[in-house]
Amino acid sequence: MKKPRKRHALSTRLWHWISAVSLIILFMSGLNISNAHRRLYWGDDGFLPEQAWLEVPRFPGWATIPDYYSLAAARDWHVLFSLLLGFSLLAFMIFAFANGHMKRDIFASKREWKPSSILKDIREHLKFNFEHGEGKYNILQKIAYASVILILIPLMIFTGMVMSPGMEAAWPWMTEIFGGRQSARSLHFIAAWLLFGFFVIHILLVLAAGPISQVRAMITGGKE
C-alpha cells in the first residue's frame, strides 16, 4: 500500500486524541471507584483484609472524577468512556493494519532487536538525541507504543469486561484466562498504573523533543 503523505494518518490522529481523553477520564474516575473498596485480591473472591495482597491508599479529590467521592457518578464516566476507548482501539487496529502503519512503523525488524542496537538507542536517548533509528520511530519507541497498543490497553479492556457480570455471563472463559474476577480487578489496577507511567514518560519526551512541533504534527498530520 502507498505510504501516506503525512507523518500521522488521520485515523492515527483521531485515535490518539480520543484515547488521550478517554484514558485520562477512565484513570481518574477509576481512582474514585478504587476508593469504594481499597483492597485488592487474587482469585475469584475476596472481601476480608487477610485475603488482600494490597491495601490501596485513598486517592484525593484532585486526582479523581468527580472531585468528590461518588461511586455512582464515577461509574457513569467509566461506563461511557470504556465504550469509546474499546471501539476506537478496534477501529485504529483495523486502519493501522490495513494502511501498513503497524508493520512499517510499530513492529521492529530483527536487526533492531539486537542488544547492541537497543543499547545504542538507550545511549542516544540519554544524550537527548531523539532523531535517530531507521524508520519513523526508534526501537525504544516501538517497544513502548507496541506495549501500550497491543498489550496494556487491550488488557485494560478485557479485564474491565471480566468485571461486568453481564459480560462475564456471555464470555465466561475470559474470567478463567485472568484467573478469576478479583485477579482481573488486580490486573486492571496494575495495568492502569503502567499506563499512567507510559503517560508521564510520553509527555516528558514530547516536552524534550519539542512540544510545539510534536503536538502540531499529531493535530495536522505534519510532514513525512
Binding site: 473498596h37 485480591y41 473472591d45 461509574r75 464516566w77 457480570p165 453481564g166 462475564e168 455471563a169
Partner: protein
Amino acid sequence: MMQRRNFLVAAGAAFLNGCNEIGETAWFGKLVEGAQGWHRGLHRALGVGRIPMAPEYTRADLSPFFRGNGSLTVDTEAYRAAEANGFANWRLAVGGLVDNPGELSMDDIRALPQRTQITRHDCVEGWSAIGEWTGPQLSTILEAAQVRPEANFIVFRCADNLNGQDYYESCDMDDAIHPQTIIAHRLNGDPLPVRNGAPLRLRIERQLGYKHAKYLTGIDAVASLDDIGEGKGGYWEDRSGYQWYAGI
C-alpha cells in the same frame, strides 16, 4: 517555573470543574443511559446461541463466610417478632399485572421445585463473595401467577428501610425468567441468616449486589417503573444515581 506550575494547577482545577458540571447536565445523563443500553445489548448479543449464565462454582470455592452489606437487619417490631418465630408466618405477595395474584407462605416456597447454585456475588464497591443459594426459580412463581403480556418489569418489595426509604429493586423480564434468578431461602445449606436477607432474598446472578434485594415481602409485575419510588427502578438508583442495569 512557578508560573508554569500555577498554570498546570489552574488547568487541572478547570478540567475537574468542567467534569463536575458536565456530569450534572441532562445530556450527559442521556449519554450514560445510552451507553448502558449499549453495554446491555452487547452482553446479550455476545452470548450468541445460548442463555448467558453466570459462572457456578464448587463447595471448595465457598468464601470463609458470606459478608452482609447495606441493611444488616430490619429495624421493626414485626420483623423482630417474625425472627423470634423462625419466620414461620412470613408471606411473599405476588401481584401487579398478573391474572392469578396471591400470597406464598414459606412452606409454599419450600414445596416448589428448588434450584441450588454456587455463585459469586459482586458488590458494586469491588469485593466478591462465593455462596451456595437454594430456592425456587422466579420463573416458576411468575408462571403460576400468569404474568400478563403488558408487564415489562418485575419489582421486588422489601421489608428493610434504609436511611428513611423503603428498599426495592426491579429487573426486566429477560432477567426475571433467567434460570439462575431464584428466590433464595437458604445460604450454604442453612436458612438465610438475618444479615443476608432472612427469610427470602433475590439472587439475580448477572447483575451486581445491590440488585439482589433482601427481606423480600412482595413481587409485582408492572408495565413501567415511573410511578414506583422515585421512578429509577431501585433504592440505590433513586437515592444515589446508581445504574439500573447493574450488569456492568
